[in-house]
């Protein structure tokens, strides 16, 4: 007969070991996936990747047009999505905290957040591509903005709500107008969290493939303006990886490697920035 104390200790130890094992389980996948990408990508890496256009099967080339198109559409997405997201999040946290309307918008935003990106792609296809009659980089950027938007709205809303009420009351009692309280005091207090939201969204859209299939499609050639079908790294990777050609697989791995590194460097740098700003504040 086990004493109560021993049993509690035992349960505790089992759960603690299980938690540690879960963490190792998570890390194993990271290193496995990263290891493969780095190994395969570094093997296929070549300076021509950044100077030449996407090749036809059997020829050699690079991914220059795809990199350019991806960058362009990500920037369009950020420029549209971030300000609207922060504003909407502020509205929810500051003006509609407990109201019915606030609940409805929050509910909508939650659904938009979980709404599959492919659905957003189809929406933009119906909204922009079909009326205009052709795929375009603008449509791709808009789709990316709509994916970024709910992430920013939700984080902004949550982070602003976490700001202690005392800070808001102190600012208001100084006679500051509401918008100044929001922008100068509360948003600044929550800026770390809001930035995390934007970065989370950015990481999500820089590798997003599904919506671009229906909006930007792909382009084998150089296209500087976002008015026509635009090449982008994810769709090129998709097309090349699904193809039967080994050479195209190599290009896909190279693109995957560069894209992943970009996203990871971005993630690590922003994290360093975050922890520094936290240190400065405390």
């Amino acid at each position: 007969m086990m004493s109560l104390y021993t049993r509690r200790q035992l349960v505790n130890n089992v759960m603690m070991v299980a938690s540690t094992a879960a963490t190792l389980f998570g890390l194993v996948w990271l290193f496995w996936i990263m290891g493969t990408t780095v190994f395969q990508g570094a093997r296929a890496l070549d300076l021509k990747l950044f100077t030449q256009m996407t090749p036809a099967p059997g020829e050699s080339g690079g991914l220059l047009n795809a990199f350019y198109g991806s960058l362009m559409m990500t920037v369009i997405g950020l420029i549209i999505g971030t300000p609207i997201g922060v504003l909407a999040g502020t509205y929810l946290a500051e003006f509609q905290r407990r109201s019915r309307m606030g609940q409805v918008i929050r509910f909508t935003n939650d659904i938009l957040l979980s709404a599959p990106s492919i659905v957003i792609g189809l929406f933009v296809y119906e909204l922009v591509v079909r009326p205009l009659g052709h795929f375009s980089g603008w449509a791709g950027g808009l789709a990316l903005a709509l994916i970024l938007l709910p992430v920013v709205v939700r984080t902004t809303d949550e982070m602003l709500q976490l700001v202690p009420g005392g800070m808001r009351e102190a600012a208001l009692s100084l006679g500051l107008p509401k918008w100044k309280v929001s922008v100068r005091v509360l948003q600044r207090a929550a800026s770390t969290g809001i930035l995390t939201g934007v970065l989370l969204g950015l990481a999500r859209i820089s590798g997003e493939t599904a919506p671009l299939l229906f909006t930007a499609l792909n382009n084998q050639y150089w296209n500087a303006s976002p008015n026509g079908p635009t090449a982008n790294v994810p769709v090129v990777i998709f097309q090349y990886a699904m193809s039967p050609y080994d050479q195209w697989h190599a290009y896909a791995w190279a693109g995957a490697f560069v894209m992943t590194m970009f996203v990871l460097v971005l993630a690590v740098c922003s994290r360093a920035l975050l922890s520094r700003s936290k240190r400065l504040r405390s």
């Binding site: 603690m16 979980s114 492919i118 119906e126 709205v153 996203v263 994290r271 922890s275």
Partner: protein, 338 residues
Amino acid sequence: MADDIAPLMPAGDNPMGPSRRVRRRRARRLNDRTADRLFLGLTGGAAYLVFFTLAGAALSMAWGGRLAFRTFGWSFFTSTQWDAVAHKFSALVPIWGTVVTATIAIVIAVPVSLGISVFLTEIAPPWLRSPVGTAIELLAAIPSIIYGMWGLFVFVPFMSEHIQPWMIDHLGTLPVIGRVFDGAPIGLGMLTAGIILGIMIIPFITAVMRDVFLATPTVLKESAFALGATRWEVVKDIVLPNSRTALIGAIFLGLGRALGETMAVTFVLGNAHDFSLSLMQPGNSIAATIANEFTEADSDIYLSSLIALGFVLFVLTFVILALARLLLHATRREGAMA
């Protein structure tokens, strides 16, 4: 300068000073009011845009899929046929695939995320927390197409050589549940897709869980420790109840991702339109079907069927999230009563 001195002077000595001061202040207050109204309008407009985006997405897909819904009627949901040549399309197989893969993902991801969150907040020494936490979050930074590629070139062969033969031999022979593990070990299929989805949503769930765990009031935890609770008891009785609402939110965040995740499953599902109970057989999901076949859709009814599938996926996500909300309210009410 004049403003600073003015209040100190008796009002009669300098009639200009105070009146100018008052006027300027009133002017500023008016500006503030306008600015506040503008701010309200601007932020409100942005918030309603979110609302209209969702409504627009639903309507546009219902509109785009109207041809398919009208042509096939209810058989769109009950038939398993998907024949591009005969122009006969139906959604049952993709819906089944979507639900099964997302369920596998959640079953894997929720306990693992819980474990990681407990590790990061309770077990790990402080110097280890930040690097491990960052590493787990990096899993979320990896684009989904990388998961797909890695799945196709690395994980599918691994499953077919090491995991699936064992499962077919040991689990496939069991009565009843054996059918679920029936088939040839080709690696592609629901199980592989579900596992990859599970890995993909771990960081999303973990990030939220860890944050709410950390938000638990320290006083509550310390009080429990002082009463002699073990670490697990503190987690179970203090941290978890304290963060229940956000916890469910985290899980549904993950579920949403899993349901609609496209690229990763497109690579490893196998794109087969045959209905099968087995997790080892190639299957399809709504998202994978659309991604695979959208550019091939050569007829109006084909395209419309794919958009109708998108609408179904949308409704599915919507229903599940609405249920989540109800559940959330129920737990909150229960908590209030206890």
